[in-house]
Symmetry: C2
Subunit: 471 residues, 2 copies
Amino acid sequence: MAQPLDTIIIGAGTAGLAALREVRKRTDRYLIVNEGPWGTTCARVGCMPSKALIEAANAFHRRHTFEAFGLRGASALTADLPSVLQRVRALRDDFVAGALKATHELGNNKVSGRATLLGPRSVDIDGTAYATRSIIIATGSRPRVPEAWLAFGDRMLTTDTLFEQPTLGPRIAVIGMGPIGVELSQALARLGLQVAAFTTGHTLAGLSDPTLNAELAALLKQDMVLHMGAEAQLREVPGGIEVASGANRVVVDQVIAAMGRVPNIEHLGLETLGVPLDARGLPTVDPQTQQIGNLPVFLAGDANTHTPLLHEAADEGHIAGLNALAPNPTRFRRRTLLSIVFADPNVAVVGPRVADMDAHSTVTGTASYTNQGRARTAQRNHGRLCVYADHASGRLLGAELCTPDGEHLAHLLALAVQQQLTVHDLLGMPFYHPTLEEGLRTALRDAARQLPHTHASDLAACPALGVPALD
Amino acid sequence: MAQPLDTIIIGAGTAGLAALREVRKRTDRYLIVNEGPWGTTCARVGCMPSKALIEAANAFHRRHTFEAFGLRGASALTADLPSVLQRVRALRDDFVAGALKATHELGNNKVSGRATLLGPRSVDIDGTAYATRSIIIATGSRPRVPEAWLAFGDRMLTTDTLFEQPTLGPRIAVIGMGPIGVELSQALARLGLQVAAFTTGHTLAGLSDPTLNAELAALLKQDMVLHMGAEAQLREVPGGIEVASGANRVVVDQVIAAMGRVPNIEHLGLETLGVPLDARGLPTVDPQTQQIGNLPVFLAGDANTHTPLLHEAADEGHIAGLNALAPNPTRFRRRTLLSIVFADPNVAVVGPRVADMDAHSTVTGTASYTNQGRARTAQRNHGRLCVYADHASGRLLGAELCTPDGEHLAHLLALAVQQQLTVHDLLGMPFYHPTLEEGLRTALRDAARQLPHTHASDLAACPALGVPALD
């Protein structure tokens, strides 16, 4: 056997490509192995095609505001679903081409095939064993579909197949109302499909604040039928697939399973590493080094199920790439948690969920957007925002929200949490008029009123304004 | 003469009402005097009606994306301009009613009439002299129109009269391309008017960065005819008003003067204060106390021409209200400068303008939105963003931008400048995918590459990523 490689990257998705960027800077004794189509989950079947679909859906939905704006002729507008999906694919192809550039000129460092670990320093690739000083596992994830439902064949859709359809519906069920279920069900409903959505739980889009969940449920019900709190059962009936949930029954043409994702680890041989594996077959991964135990093996991206988000997968890939080639792994501080769901209004969670905070030491500031000035001028006056602050220090701990342009408010709040700013620090920034940020200010003022007065010591003269005195 | 009042507030606009909030908490021996209609410039003729118009215009303009999205029937859409303007007025009336609530139940503390100073402790109100311990001047501003142009009668419009028109055009000229001129000219053009816009200068919407000015000019020219760099001359011709600027000539039905605003101080008697007045007739006002000299007289809001923006006027009103009743004035630190122009793409300036920065100690990071992923999915891929950082410290000094949803990016950048964050601090925050904030990250990375490596000392392992190492 030849001299060992420096590393083998298994998987060429977002995490694998991020690792590749670091690895290429340091060595050319590496392989990147990919099974199945090259191109990231994000570009092929995730973030990008879903956003292309959502933008078309929201552009079309906006016609309901036209008459009130003084714009005529909205009733003539129609959504040509095959064309909408065709554009989604065209744009998707372009984003995939962008992702493929990263591996385009790798030559012999790039291998298409199945990789299986033979141990912490050896990988089998389609029958050939390679010795390596380290291994980076970045095999990603795929949509979870109950085994029995596969019997419905091509009427059982996931994000892997949805965007490939020439057309859809007209009756469609979405099972699971996490981030992906909420985004897709609303977009498809707004494009004219009859959508029935189902979730076993009582929370939507990853929100944990009950007030926000109730508001979001009411908003989603304007576009679709939504059943919460009971498991969905599927069976073949004349004319379609019947979805039953509690006392509710609906017959549809297609079903989208949006029930989360499972890591791609079946054929990986993780059992050869000699470390304990959990019920899902996964080893423990240190989120600050991406290392598995003390082995020269690193796991990054969706495959580790920590936080299946692109920007986290990219960070994990970089960390794994750096640490796989370093004599000793570096520990990295991870960014403030941020998740965004591109529903309308946008949904976001910044920092830990409020459900995971200590209720006794936390104050909640809230603001409704129903009567918010700028939102009214745009006919986008829906939703609500909550900020959570530490009662003792006034520090902003996190936020949950469901507001117009909430994706942007969430970034501002994530910066504030990351920088450990207080509610009064935030009140000291400029809030332009008229903007949606003024709604955030309302929530911050609501929180400030509940904080001990001492936090406003330098603002005592003018706490509502948040203008710090110079002296 | 009776015992003196504690204060007299002259003007019941945004600044006067902010002062009123502070004054009412501390005394009932005050008057608030207003000449002409009650209700703020913002609600009556400023921020709110313009935003209502802009939202209608942009909703209509969006039809040009429909065919590419796969949506049919856009050619049937029309803008019913009289209805658009009627909605603007209906919404405006509602916002004015909200502003009037602040003075609704003031009883005898509220006076409609003209106030004229008789000195630093005495005010004449329609013939009656009042002694007072302090005076708060908040008389606001009005659009500037050259005297000679008033001859064009009701065809010469300003923001004071524009929204009152039953309809407009079809041919309209906008003179002046600062924030208001840019907003109105684009909105009216997008609602179907033939707009010709003129500006004597070479900058638009308050931008000072030449690259951004060039991009914005090119974008605005998609909607209208734009002539820059020569003064506009108006004359009556058969069939309308001819606007001549350099070699360019155009005949229009109406002209909007958007040439800035002048303070309302003519009848105020500022000369009785015994302090020097500048060429415009204004005394020097301390921007941290709002005080005029050492007098018990305070000037707040547009009338002082520092920064004619609502959030600054409100701050100044609060400061004036606090200081008018305090034994000694408190000095307040003012917020980071932020100005936003609600063009599409949005325009914003955060912190000092780049033209006012020291070019030798400043690095510029820039990013185009023409090929930005999320912007492409939404067909909003236009514009550019520039961040400016101090070369020695890496601190973010400011930003100028012209991007989709720029109003939100500008708030995030304003928070960063206010908190004195560095480019690397910002790169350490989460950037969700796919968002327009990723374009900002591109600009930040561009700036980071130009900074001395020492600023990235704690990120040495991974500067592009901005993940700070734990140890």
